[in-house]
Structures are given as C-alpha cells and as structure tokens.
Amino acid sequence: DAGVTQSPTHLIKTRGQHVTLRCSPISGHKSVSWYQQVLGQGPQFIFQYYEKEERGRGNFPDRFSARQFPNYSSELNVNALLLGDSALYLCASRAVGSGRMGMSTDTQYFGPGTRLTVL
C-alpha cells in the first residue's frame, strides 16, 4: 500500500507569487495535517483537517490556507510568498477510529515533503 504522497517534490517561486502544494493521505486515513520545517528546526504545525473541515490552525498568517477534498486529499495554498516561506512542507495523515492492522490511530505518518524555495 502507498504511503502519504506529496507533489511536487521541489518548487521554486519568486516573492509575491502564489503556490499550491498537494497531499494524498494513506488509504483509509481521514485526517491530514500540514507542517512547515525551516532548515535547522523542527516542524511547525500549520493546519489540521478532518472530514473536509479545518480542525486546528497553528500560528501562521492568513496568507496560508488549505482545504480537504471528499477523497481526503488536501491542498496547502500560500499567497504573496515571502523569502521566509522557503522551507520543507510536510503533510501527515492519521487514521481516526479503527486503524488498519499495524497502524496506530494515534500516530501521524509523514509524506516525503515538498521543498519550496522562494527567490
């Protein structure tokens, strides 16, 4: 079975542009979370979605938005890009309720990330 997938792998944008990052959760996982990891630091929570509704938001400006689709995939959008938005963006999915054998319902499983560079 496929793990969490993210696209694109790498992205280069210029200041002021808009970017959309995509995430597909593990099959059967209904919760998706987004994290920003700046070089040399631990990931910082941005958003959490469950059943297509936002259920949590970290300390990020309104330039950051996200949504979840009926198939539980998710998009993270960032408007008016700043140099400081350069980071690795990680998506994680989590089973809620009965998890598949071998997968905890209380554990987030991460995708490979999208590396965003803002010039």
Binding site: Q41, G42, F45, Q48, L90, S104, D106, T107, Q108
Partner: protein, 116 residues
C-alpha cells in the same frame, strides 16, 4: 502551551555502541503521546517509537527503547548496537490524547552521527 526541548544539538557514537538522546517536555495534560521520529538526509520523517503516557512500561522497538519518566517529564531514546544507517536527525514530539485529531509539537532535533 506544550513545549518540547531537546538540549543536545549533536551527538556522535561509534558503530555497535549505545547512545541516548534526551528530551523533556512541558504539559498540563495527564493523557498524551510521545514520539521519536527520525529524519535522514532524504528528509523523510520516519516514526521510530511511540509511548502512551498512561502506560508505565517503557516502549521498545528492536534496538530502540525509551526511558519515560512522567513525573520528571522526560522521554529519552536509547539506541543499542548503533548502525551507520541510524545517522539522521532525531526529533522528539508530543501530542495530546483525547482529541480525535491531535497535533504534534516537535523539539529542535538532535543530529546523530554514527561513525565506523
């Protein structure tokens, strides 16, 4: 707010030796989860081990084990028989229990290097 502190920015160990990575956290909650994630140069975040706070028994996964001291809010990771492939950044993370969703709070990480 929950915080996670990793006081060792870098650690190194010789292959086949044992190393312990430290982590402390702060929370007012009684029920929660603690995790160690590994992030190799590929940047893929990989779960190493998890601990449920209401369980007194320390979690173990093959060569990886934890020393969970709830009163001291300490959660260290011991890696036995270190292998070259263990070289990675290790993150300690915390999540509240009870919420159906949860969010992870990460420390700043410890870069572990295993040398031959």
């Amino acid at each position: 707010a929950q915080t996670v502190t990793q006081s060792q920015p870098e650690m190194s160990v010789q292959e086949a030796e044992t190393v312990t990575l430290s982590c402390t956290y702060d929370t007012s909650e009684n029920n929660y989860y603690l995790f160690w994630y590994k992030q190799p140069p590929s940047r893929q975040m990989i779960l190493v081990i998890r601990q449920e706070a209401y369980k007194q028994q320390n979690a173990t996964e093959n060569r990886f084990s934890v020393n969970f001291q709830k009163a001291a809010k300490s959660f260290s990771l011991k890696i036995s028989d270190s292998q070259l492939g263990d070289t990675a950044m290790y993150f300690c993370a915390y999540a509240d229990r009870g919420s159906t969703l949860g969010r992870l709070y990460f420390g700043r990480g410890t870069q572990l290097t295993v040398w031959p």
